[in-house]
């Protein structure tokens, strides 16, 4: 087990480092010099020497390799450099934006799991073939809907038509409902798909008729026996969708005018603010890597059959 953990940790660290490097190289390839673009503006009246000093402040006056090493060391120490757009430390901007997005993404994920479980179990329980077919078609519909359009549609129906959620103002909870729903729909789709397939597979196994012969009801079998065995593949997919939560928050926060990591990303793209973008990409990769690490480590805990293999 210890060796497995060690190898898995090294692997996770490698992917993170590589994600940092790929993003860094991509963002450094920029033809324009974002510092020059911002400060060479004649209206600012800066002398070449002052611009040179600003470049040194942002670490733009050293060789590419040196600047890569400095940035990497900074990331390891938890310092992400300075935003070119606002001049403030990137850490501060991230810390400001993170809580709102964490609440949005966390609730979105929980709702997504709930939707997925309801769809998959209803489909697994249903004996009417057209209801089952319709339920199993829901995930493909969910992934085909543009997230931004869904958000707009929800605003239109719930705020303008029905007047259930105020467009402006309203409590924090009221403001959270529609964005969370918007974010949850595309995340729910892959989880529901895999869970439904997995439930089908488990239901075809020999122990199910045995339990039924002993007198268990269909719900009891589904809930107590099938669900436990069907949950693992869904857990893997749930881990993979975690990265999409941050991407989804870019669109959701833009549509609903909420502040957070998504908004920060959009501002960074518009201002060519490469340090902020780099930090966001690494943050997303870190969330993805950590969650999948946790899922992998949890697997043997949840499924005794896997303990012997990894131990």
């Amino acid at each position: 087990m210890a060796r497995y953990l060690l190898r898995r940790t090294a692997q996770a660290a490698f992917v993170l480092w590589a994600a940092f490097t790929v993003a860094y190289v991509l963002l450094q390839l920029l033809p324009g010099d974002s510092i020059l673009i911002k400060f060479q503006n004649p209206e600012l009246g800066l002398s070449p020497r002052q611009i040179q000093e600003i470049r040194a402040y942002y670490g733009g006056d050293v060789s590419p390799l040196e600047s890569y090493a400095t940035t990497l060391l900074g990331f390891l120490r938890g310092g992400f450099g300075y935003s070119i757009d606002t001049g403030t430390p990137v850490v501060e901007r991230l810390a400001e934006a993170l809580p709102a997005t964490a609440v949005l993404a966390g609730s979105g994920f929980l709702l997504a799991v709930l939707i997925a479980v309801v769809i998959a179990f209803a489909a697994g329980h249903s004996r009417t073939s057209w209801i089952r077919g319709a339920l199993l078609a829901v995930p493909s519909l969910f992934v085909s809907v543009p997230v931004f359009w869904l958000g707009i549609l929800l605003i239109q129906v719930f705020s303008f038509r029905l007047g259930l959620v105020p467009v402006i103002g309203g409590s924090a909870l009221q403001q959270l409902v529609l964005p969370v729903l918007t974010l949850a729909v595309p995340i729910a789709a892959p989880i529901a798909q895999v869970l439904a397939r997995s439930i089908d597979r488990v239901q075809a196994q020999a122990f199910v008729p045995v339990v039924a012969a002993k007198g268990a009801s269909r719900w009891w079998i589904l809930w107590r026996h099938v669900a436990r065995n069907a949950a693992l593949p869904a857990l893997t997919v749930a881990g993979v969708t975690f990265g999409e939560l941050i991407a989804g928050s870019v669109v959701t926060e833009t549509v609903f005018g909420r502040n957070g990591i998504g908004r920060l990303t959009e501002q960074a793209v518009n201002a060519q603010d490469t340090p902020v973008m780099l930090a966001v990409v690494v943050l997303a990769a870190a969330v993805f890597v950590l969650v999948n690490f946790a899922v992998d480590v949890l697997f043997p805990v949840l499924d005794p059959r896997l303990r012997a293999v990894t131990g």
Partner: protein
């Protein structure tokens, strides 16, 4: 067996109609997509204006029809980028094996660990906004999926008897790859291509909505929805109908992908 075929038929029909919109928009609408008639602004859908009109009196259906060429060609470029780069990487990894395989696939893992939209936005910071750049950015996001599939197919086909036989009878490596491995790996790759085509249309409309794609007054689908946002309270059709067209096209691409995947599996 009858039901799935109806679904496939409808999906093919949807894609055929949208392809015709792109090729010959004049056949479907007589209205101008760019010049509006101010007197007819913000009209609800009617027989004269199927999808209604926008704030400057442009026919929305005409804009959706003329906009299809932007979404479709963008999706073609995106899928071409992903297919070409991804398949090359996958072929390389699958046929070289050993350390090359490891290195390429770890790189693919890294691409997979960054969400597609963030990767696309990073490429947009690099290349700047614009229709072609958005297409390339979206294509970058699908490289990983194509690479993984191509590699697994190559590894699978390489172990088959006929490929062993082709090598045994003196076939040179590139020739065997081209004549035997590639054609036999094509089915699942085509299924993924169809799926990615739909996903590319979705991603392009998203980036268009965020304002990184075509410039107004180009009738790009994502941009249409973004423009319609300002009239949410009064004119539901401006956002709802273009979005419904996007959903229909993406669903159709996914449906066709599934039936190709099933028939070649």
């Amino acid at each position: 067996m009858n039901r799935p075929k109806t679904g496939l038929l409808v999906a093919s029909l949807v894609l055929a109609v949208v392809a015709l919109w792109a090729l010959a928009p004049g056949l479907f609408t007589a209205h101008d997509p760019i010049a509006g008639v101010p007197a007819e602004k913000l009209q609800a859908p009617s027989a004269r204006h199927l999808f209604g009109t926008d704030a400057v009196g442009r026919d929305l259906f005409a804009r959706v029809v003329h906009g299809s060429v932007h979404s479709l060609s963008g999706a073609f470029v995106a899928v071409a980028v992903g297919l070409l780069l991804g398949t090359l990487l996958g072929l390389l990894a699958g046929s070289a094996g050993g350390p090359v395989d490891d290195a390429v696939m770890r790189f693919v893992d890294v691409l997979l660990s960054v969400p597609g939209l963030l990767l696309a936005l990073t490429v947009i910071i690099l290349l700047g906004p614009g229709t072609v750049n958005v297409a390339i950015a979206v294509g970058t996001g699908s490289v990983a999926a194509f690479a993984r599939l191509a590699r697994s197919e190559v590894v699978r086909v390489r172990r088959t008897d006929y490929v062993e036989a082709a090598f045994g009878s003196g076939g040179r490596y590139p020739v065997v790859l081209w004549r035997h491995v590639l054609p036999n790996s094509l089915g699942p790759v085509i299924a993924l291509t169809a799926l990615q085509f739909g996903m590319a249309i979705l991603a392009i409309s998203t980036l268009g909505f965020l304002g990184y794609g075509a410039e107004p007054p180009t009738p790009e689908w994502g941009l249409l929805i973004a423009e319609g946002r300002n009239y949410l309270a009064t004119s539901w059709w401006l956002t709802t109908l273009p979005g419904a067209v996007v959903v229909a096209v993406v669903l159709a691409a996914g449906r066709i992908s599934r039936s190709i995947g099933r028939s070649t599996a």
